[in-house]
């Protein structure tokens, strides 16, 4: 080792710094995209784990376009995180990139551990707003409140606190928060913005909210469940149950995925989302793209990510309402509003706050869900 020190000369330092700065800034600024494309062609089959099944047709289209083989493994939210985490821990290099939801949990287990890294392909760097670049957002998903249009000519909702009141007793359906990680994240925002919820209560009733829970968010969860909420296991069935025609007393839906509205003409549903309920129309969450830190086919993965940020690559998701690319060129799905409109009216969630508080949300849910 001493020999190394003796050979040290100032000139080397300059070269070293130069190289270091090149390496450090290369991905951000001067990545040679032509080189990435060329290298991708030389790599093997790209393996993608994805929570959304639409990655399958996107991969097939990409393969047709570039000749690069793509293998998409569709996994549930929790399964994907668990699998990628265990593989990362064991040092198994199977997956090249992931298309993942529940970024609160996956950030903690997959990014903070260094198994996956963020990557911003050229198109996203150029076209996407900066806040959608780290982590790189493939698209946003909306979850909304909904009602039956045969029973109601106009939006019956004005305020989320209505759902805790007698007229909605035993009539509101929600996918079980206990088994839906994103619901848990979203409800932490109700805790974080307790003041706004409290104000909404006063606005609706003219009274001050009296609480037995530590804040208005948890108080809402308690009252909602005590109002005989109906817990379901599938958003599809919720949408169908609300929208079926010929019902005297149809149920209402909370937090089901808006993209189910794609089936309205197909199944002749009398279903509409609420566009006036205060203080939030529901919530949105990102689908995130991440690159495996030791991917076998990093260049192919980068190329696929680039493709997914284009309108062509996003096409499989764009065939329904309720899914939005950060790409500003996207035209909204027929009858849907553009992303900016929704982003203003929907609550997202704060990643750090969600990580810290979703345990409490889940506990409150479990406590009052059990009657």
């Amino acid at each position: 080792m001493p020999g190394t020190f003796r050979a040290f000369r100032p000139g080397h330092l300059v070269v070293a710094l130069l190289v270091a700065s090149l390496v450090a800034f290369a991905p951000a600024q001067a990545e040679d995209w032509a080189a990435v494309e060329a290298a991708a062609q030389a790599e093997g089959k790209l393996v993608v784990y994805s929570t959304t099944s639409r990655t399958v047709p996107a991969g097939a289209a990409f393969q047709e376009l570039t000749g690069i083989e793509v293998e998409v493994v569709r996994l549930g939210e929790q399964d994907l995180i668990e699998r990628a985490y265990q593989e990362g821990r064991a040092g198994v290099r199977n997956v090249d990139m992931i298309v993942v939801e529940d970024w609160v949990a996956s950030r903690e287990l997959l990014a903070a551990t260094g198994y996956f890294v963020n990557y911003v392909p050229p198109n996203a760097r150029e076209r996407f707003a900066e806040r959608y670049q780290d982590p790189l957002v493939l698209g946003f998903i909306n979850r909304v409140f909904g009602y039956n249009t045969e029973k109601h000519d106009a939006d019956p909702f004005t305020n989320v606190w209505e759902l805790t009141m007698p007229q909605y007793a035993g009539r509101v359906m929600i996918r079980d928060v206990a088994i839906t990680g994103e619901h848990q994240n979203a409800l932490t925002e109700w805790v974080r913005r307790s003041d706004e919820l409290e104000a909404a209560y006063t606005e609706l009733t003219g009274e001050v909210l009296e609480m037995t829970e530590p804040n208005a968010g948890l108080e809402w969860i308690k009252r909602f469940l005590q109002n005989d909420a109906i817990i379901m296991t599938s958003d599809t069935r919720i949408a169908e149950a609300i929208g079926a025609r010929g019902q005297e007393n149809p149920p209402y839906g909370m937090f089901y995925v808006f993209s189910k509205h794609r089936d309205i003409p197909l199944q002749d549903l009398a279903l509409s989302e609420s566009r006036s309920i205060e203080p939030t129309l529901g919530y949105y969450y990102p689908i995130v793209l991440q690159l495996a830190a030791d991917a076998r086919n990093p260049n192919a993965a980068k190329l696929f990510m680039e493709y997914l940020t284009t309108l062509e690559g996003f096409a499989p998701w764009a065939d329904s309402p309720g899914v939005y690319t950060p790409n500003p060129d996207q035209v909204p799905f027929e009858g849907d509003m553009p992303w900016d409109w929704w982003e203003e009216r929907l609550w997202g969630y704060d990643l750090d706050f969600a990580a810290q508080h979703r345990g409490i949300v889940l506990d409150t849910w479990l406590r009052y869900a059990q009657r």
Partner: protein, 598 residues
């Protein structure tokens, strides 16, 4: 020294050799995962650290246990779901015993007509995924509480079903019992069949009434099978998640597995695995009771050197009504759910049931974005990915069934021949434990265990053999229970006679023991076979693109609400499983029509 070696070699009987081997292998495949799970319940995980003041990820903690058992909300978090779980598990097991045992007795011991049909049909409820029955229940009996089209019962009669009948513990118990009664049918049927008729004849000669014979002779002899059935169904009742979540949610009645899944999805595995540990502990308790209560009485040997088949009970004038009743029952628990699945696959637009809407698009259609659901996916029968996945599933099911069958026979042999020793008890219990472990946890632990080479064990990541190992360990209990039951009924004098005439161990197995209990072993292989075709949560973490299975690939359709594809795949599996069951029974000459075995 030389005598010591010789003594050792004399003592090295096949059963001891097997005992050592199996203890070693099961030790690794069962004890290690169990240890990992226990350890997790004492560890702080990343998202758990926020609820434990001052804790860092990876720290040791008892907070999960305290919270679960003595925390201020432990009633809602733990005790209430536990009570619900026990109610479901107990009543479903009893119901499954009554239905399965009753059917088995009718088929084996009476002159009921249509036995062949009945005994083939009676396993089909287990071939279908349990959710099909839950779905069928809702289609029939749901009321306006969960909206949508009214249930058929209400539509026809105009009577709204009460909530307790439509949702919650009652339908959960019924649908699960209807799903699991085939266990009782197969295990108890095998046991009844093997009762030496001489025993009953002797009792009859001594003046015992038919009721007395049933109570004092037949019942004690099938008691081990009854307990096995109880153990298998009870444990399933403890761990099942899908049906309770689906039927219980609308009236907010939850079970212990809800807690497991909720906390796993909430990224709090420490709390989640406690639910799993409790389930395992309860299963072990039943296993222990089984040993205490049955242990002493198990020395009954029902197959001796010579035996006779019992005469059939004449049902007299009840023959036809009973046959109608049984066939009607089987028809409604089989044809109704299967019919509901099938109809959905040929309706171009879901939920609209008329002839104009009939189409084979989801079976043989070309990929299209314009027709029906506009999925852009080719029909099931021309979808090479789906067909390939079906092929993989069948390959896995056959291999696992064979491996389980052989292992179950050998472990059963070892357990029974060493009966009374600690080793025997240990082996019996070890081989049962994986059955009690939630498959989602088992899958994750196997991934961690086999992802990289550890000592002499190579990395099996991404191989077909990892799937085989996971399934074998998970379903071994079926085969071992069958193996033990079979062996229990065979007197050692048969094997001793074979030894006297110089037969090697292998010959003894092949020529004496196996042929005598072919039917029981066959049941022991059939259950793993069927189970593999449906397994998802155990394998989802272990499959790679190259070995996709029918269930894992179907996820992408379920995900988007494209139920015609999901249902079609389930239907394909059901048809393949039933066909292969019937064919293999013919091949093994274990035709049930002649009374559960050959």
């Amino acid at each position: 020294m030389i005598t010591a070696v010789r003594r050792f070699r004399l003592q090295l009987t096949p059963q001891r050799l097997f005992a050592a081997l199996f203890l070693l292998v099961l030790g690794y495949l069962v004890v290690v995962p169990l240890g990992v799970m226990l350890q997790e319940t004492f560890t702080v995980h990343p998202l758990e650290r926020f609820q434990i003041p001052g804790a860092m990820t990876g720290d040791f903690t008892t907070a999960h246990w305290e919270r679960t058992f003595v925390g201020p909300h432990s009633y809602a978090f733990f005790y209430r779901p536990l009570i619900n779980t026990l109610i479901i598990a107990l009543s479903l097991s009893l119901l499954a015993l009554v239905i399965g045992g009753g059917l088995a007795w009718l088929v084996v011991r009476t002159n009921l007509p249509f036995k062949g049909l009945i005994s083939n049909a009676a396993i089909i409820p287990y071939v279908m995924p349990s959710w099909t029955l839950a779905l069928a229940w809702l289609t029939l009996f749901k009321n306006q509480r969960i909206g949508g089209q009214p249930g058929i019962f209400q539509a026809v009669t105009g009577i709204a079903t009460p909530d307790w009948f439509a949702y919650g513990l009652f339908p959960i118990t019924i649908t699960l019992a209807l799903h699991y009664f085939p266990f009782g049918f197969m295990l108890i049927g095998g046991a009844i069949r093997n009762i030496d008729a001489q025993l009953e004849e002797s009792a009859e000669l001594l003046g015992a009434s038919r009721a007395t014979i049933l109570r004092r002779v037949v019942f004690p002899l099938v008691l081990p099978a009854i307990f096995s059935t109880f153990l298998l169904t009870f444990s399933k009742g403890l761990g099942t998640f899908g049906t309770p979540a689906f039927l219980g949610g609308p009236v907010r009645e939850f079970v212990l597995s809800t807690s497991l899944y909720a906390n796993l999805i909430g990224q709090r595995p420490g709390i989640g695995y406690i639910a799993a540990v409790v389930m395992i502990a309860m299963g072990v308790l039943v296993l222990y009771m089984d040993h205490r209560i049955i242990g002493a009485r198990r020395s009954f040997v029902t197959i001796s050197g010579k035996g006779a088949r019992a005469g059939l009970v004449d049902l007299g004038r009840w023959r036809t009504p009973l046959a109608v009743l049984v066939l009607g029952f089987l028809f409604s628990v089989i044809a109704v759910p299967i019919g509901a699945l099938a109809v959905d696959t040929v309706m171009l637009r879901p939920g609209i049931y008329n002839l104009q809407n009939f189409s084979l698009h989801y079976w043989i259609g070309e990929a299209s974005l314009a027709i029906g659901l506009g999925t852009g996916e080719p029909g099931i029968l021309r979808n090479s990915q789906l067909m390939g996945a079906l092929g993989n599933t069948m390959r896995l099911a056959v291999v696992v069934a064979l491996v389980c069958g052989v292992l179950g026979m050998l472990i059963g042999y070892t357990v029974v021949r060493l009966r009374g020793t600690l080793v025997s008890r240990l082996l019996d219990q070890l081989s049962f434990l994986p059955y009690l472990m939630p498959s989602i946890a088992l899958g994750s632990i196997f991934l961690a265990l086999f992802a990289i080479a550890r000592g002499p064990i190579p990395s099996l990541y991404g191989t077909f053999w990892l799937l085989v190992i996971a399934c074998t360990v998970s379903y071994l209990p079926y085969a071992v229970k069958a193996g033990v039951n079979a062996m229990m009924q065979i007197g050692p004098e048969l094997e001793e006679a074979a030894i006297m005439s110089g037969a090697s161990w292998f010959t003894r197995m092949r020529r004496v023991l196996f042929p005598l209990q072919k039917a029981t072993y066959f049941s022991g292989m059939l259950l793993p076979f069927i189970s593999v075709t449906r397994e998802l949560s155990l394998l989802i973490l272990l499959v790679t693109p190259a070995n996709q299975l029918a269930t894992t690939i179907t996820l992408r359709y379920t995900d988007r609400g494209w139920y015609p594809y999901t249902n079609g795949m389930v239907l394909m599996l059901v048809i393949i499983v039933i066909t292969s069951t019937i064919v293999s029974r013919r091949l093994m000459k274990t035709d049930l029509a002649k009374g559960l075995g050959g």
